[in-house]
Symmetry: C4
Subunit: 358 residues, 4 copies
């Protein structure tokens, strides 16, 4: 498992291998999506439809690089590992492996509230990592605050509040496969914390405990860390967040796992960038599989992207080494795309670098 297969050259290769390695229920969980997967698929097709504009004979590309700075921290490229739950489903090292890969490749790492490793373990194993903490608000404000304090104490540099998944999506593939968390994989950071009562009404049961704008306003007062809001898909919601003093946005449809029939994230990105102005950090996830996808997201207004399922797949296939390899592939692809489009730095990437009919 710690060998990278010789025929792995791109992220799709890891996906292909992972499907043969993982158990069928785990595969159904990891690869699954809401309902019929229209949004899951659209995330890709809309990225594929964005065309880049080759330029030739550009001068001074020899000094180029793809480094990017977010909230004062410089990354080797504009990418973080997304806050994936239960990474031990992919391999025994789980988050401890992927954070080390992120640190080695100098990209960001965002730990999920539903991680299968603790906030502290992740910090200890990769103290130099550039790490953020993703927060699911807990039924009790005190418990929510405790999670924030633990993240602060362990050197996490930002809080990512997920707002797009107050309920689980309708995940038929996962249901059909009868997926359950295996022994030894659980949300360890929530050990001892009471969880929402599960009931059979979406509204009465789940939504009664979901965070709302007031919760976010309260959160903003609890920490001096930057707070990013994840799951923004409407410009009006983006503006609301800005008014509450939120420091950054993540345009995300949760990889198509929650609400099907939504647009792709790349589609809504330009309007969200327009709504919040040029300077607020805006990130994007859901569907990134190539360095050229990163290029496209940057060109359309993002400051960086998050990488989700491919981290799982690479971890399942080749452990932390696989994750690092995966990150390196993306960087090479991004640099090649930049060089061929005449961009020496991430700041050079803009809408003019995309092809639109002349």
């Amino acid at each position: 498992m710690n060998q990278i297969p010789t025929d792995v050259c791109c992220l799709a290769d890891y996906e292909r291998h992972a499907q043969t390695i993982l158990s069928e229920p785990t595969w159904a969980y990891l690869s699954g999506y809401s309902m019929d997967g229209f949004t899951h698929q659209r995330n890709r097709t809309k990225l594929d439809e964005v065309l880049v504009q080759q330029r030739i004979l550009t001068e001074s590309l020899g000094q180029g690089d793809c480094r990017q700075t977010l909230f004062g921290t410089e990354l080797s490229m504009p990418l973080l590992i997304a806050p994936l739950a239960y990474q031990k489903l992919a391999s025994s090292m789980g988050e401890l492996g992927s954070v080390q890969a992120a640190a080695a490749q100098e990209v960001g790492f965002c730990l999920s509230t539903l991680a299968s490793s603790t906030i502290e373990q992740v910090a200890d194993v990769a103290p130099q990592s550039k790490r953020w903490f993703q927060l699911y608000c807990q039924p009790s404000l005190d418990d929510t605050l405790t999670l924030i304090r633990r993240a602060e104490s362990s050197g996490y540099q930002a809080i990512v509040v997920t707002a797009d998944a107050p309920i689980n999506g309708v995940r038929n593939a996962e249901q059909r496969a009868g997926f359950e968390l295996p022994d030894g994989v659980r949300a360890v950071n929530l050990d001892g914390l009471p969880q929402a009562a599960q009931g059979d009404s979406v509204f009465a049961c789940w939504m009664g405990q979901a965070p709302d704008w007031q919760t976010l306003a309260w959160l903003r007062e609890q920490t001096s860390l930057p707070i990013l809001l994840k799951g923004v898909m409407h410009p009006a919601d983006a503006k609301c967040a800005v008014e509450l003093g939120i420091d950054g946005l993540i345009v995300s449809n949760h990889g198509g796992r929650v609400l099907d029939s939504q647009p792709a994230t790349i589609e809504v990105l330009p309007a969200i960038r327009a709504a919040v102005g040029a300077t607020l950090p805006v990130l994007l996830d859901s569907g990134i599989r190539r360095g050229s996808d990163i290029f496209k997201a940057i060109a359309l207004g993002a400051d960086a992207v998050l990488l989700g399922r491919p981290v799982f797949y690479a971890q399942a296939v080749a452990g932390p080494l696989g994750v690092a390899h995966c990150l390196r592939i993306l960087r090479d692809e991004l640099e090649a795309t930049m060089a061929l489009c005449g961009c020496a730095t991430v700041q050079d990437i803009n809408q003019d670098c995309l092809y639109t009919p002349f």
Copy 2:
């Protein structure tokens, strides 16, 4: 047959199972469509192309629900079982099973003139059901009137006049499979009533006996029950119906079973809503397979939808329990879609809940 298979999580799962259970000719009849199925397929693809708009952190969703009131009757969600002919083709209980499922789930039930159970049997077996009667005009006005009177006497609350199927569609799959009604399955409500002579000319034979606007005007005078016109696909026809005092419309292309190469119902819905104003009840059928489809239809102007073939499939797979399960799945999916789009009630669903490029 009364066991729900463990891998059934959505309506498509019932369809898949049903195909393995039903005889080939029955399957050809139930699943069939007119000519090449362009309209049958378009009903789905046009629903799939409608995109919903996620909203986050909406307040007060905990008190939400998806109840809807039609003609003074409250339903648990905006849905009725469509007037399907010969439901005993699916299972021995036929309409008696599906009306009980509808009553248990508090949705509406529309009995077909071509039902394989009588008007009275259906009322008796589910006296609390919210039931409508679908009328095919008979060659004799007296016979037509007799059907209406029986429906009135048995507590049916509305009459649905079907106008889009004066002739059978060109159903090649059914013809190829040599489908015929098996013994014991027939249109029992028409026992003893003379039927139209069958001949070989579409015009002379079939259309000479088809109802027209005068028939509808006459019908309007025969009953104080609300009358809905089913099969409306053109705004001008919708306006005609309103002028004659019709109480509601059902936008339908008969599930693509009659006239191929028509547009999808979801395409024509907005223009029909616009033609009749905001208050007239407008329903839609043909292609509903997900709770999110109901959401889309409501957003584009419908008050409720009707569910057709999936009722057959669920009945074939797991009898009345299957039908009830099917209805519950749709409600859960509708509630999840509403909650994630920030809608606490059906009245909150409107065009702004759909995504259009900003």
Copy 3:
């Protein structure tokens, strides 16, 4: 071969059966198309994209029919059998079978210059047939005139001059299969007439002998029969023909057999109708497979259509009886479409009978 298989319900069924009956080279010849078949396929997809508009409760449809009059001759529907070469490839009766089927079904029949039966035989076997003669101009004007005189003498009622096939198309499937005319199948009407020298240059060899506008002007003076020009795809060519006194046009791309990458005939029909005004007879072929296709062509400006390959397929499967069945299927489909769109006669069919977004 004279039995219609029980599972044949539409023209596609004949095609399916024919493929299993005909030799591979003959199939390659009959079903083949130019180059990559883009135009062949586009003929269908563009017809499929035209949507019809259902209307309900229309009055007085009982007296409807689909009869159509062309050049003073009434047909049971607006359709002729297209001038197909070498029909004995399909069955031993060839043109003698299909003209009888056309006569029995009261549709038109157009005999090809490249028919495998003589002008006179066809007239003799079906004296009541409504027959036209399709003319390929011969290298010698005298020979051309002889063909016209034979057609006149045998009661053919119009001359169809084919202009879109001065050269054979690039038919790779036919070339790969090594198709050659079998013994006993040849262009008998050309027996004894010198044919164009075959050479290896498209321009010098083929085009030097091709007819041009002067040839057409000359032809117009040679006969009092109506002359139709077949293969018109550009409004300017349509206007030229009208100026020369041509009596009717056939919009055709030869079923996609000659020039690939052309538009579909149904696409160019409205502009050609607009160019020549409302009264000149305009026909269309290439891709007609359903009665609803005829409806669409009429709605977009045609007076009638021609049916090509399906005649071969039906003849191969079930001889003349198959051809007659094929024609009857189309009429039933056309009548059903008309009735469901509220049209009592062919004259009622117009652009308003098509769906365009309201």
Copy 4:
């Protein structure tokens, strides 16, 4: 290998056969593309979407031909063999075979810097060939100049500077197959010349040695031969080249082998033609597979096209004879398309020869 299979009628047939003949790694190399092949595929689909306009009865086509003159040299059709690297991968004769085929068919031949035959060998074996030399700038200007001088001495009539491949594309299929040049196939014209250091950073390593606009300006001063710039995809780059005195452009995306997610060449051609005016020679490659493709490119502003991969495939299947056959097929297809669209000469082909909705 020197026999043309009897079922080869078009270039796609050669491709099909070649795949069965070549080793898997060589096939992966020859047929491969950058990343996911979107641009590779788009080159074809965008050509396929261009529609031609049939015209009928055009006069004086008997004197037509498809000859074209470029930089004073007349070709039998507007086509050159593209500068393909390592043609000995396809067959032992490599470039020596394809240049002979080009000479025999009177089309142009462009020799690659990365040819597996020397500049001098190619000239010797086909002294009458109309040959150009494609230049990859070498790390040393002196070495670059040496290549130019060798080409001049050997009668090459133009220099083609490739600007779109300063780095190799991300070619996953080739990587997965583990392709390496076999013994005896190498870039013989670079024997003894130092090559760029290979490193692991796109920017520092590759781009530091890439040519830029200054290099091009320098090149322009070194030779009196016409210089064409290959790989132009942006009108602004086209204008830059014109300002530097470049004599011609080749619109190319390297067959989709370098930068994926680019538009097709046929898409950008009209804007590039518009940017440089009517008289500068503009050529196009990437995706040409039919004579009708050449017609489309000419109609949209090209003076000629280059043919790439099919030359490899034909050579692999049937050696030089296959290449000649391939060229002849294209000419026949081009002539047929011209004749059927009413064009007697290449100069008659323009935008009016394409179909756009009237």
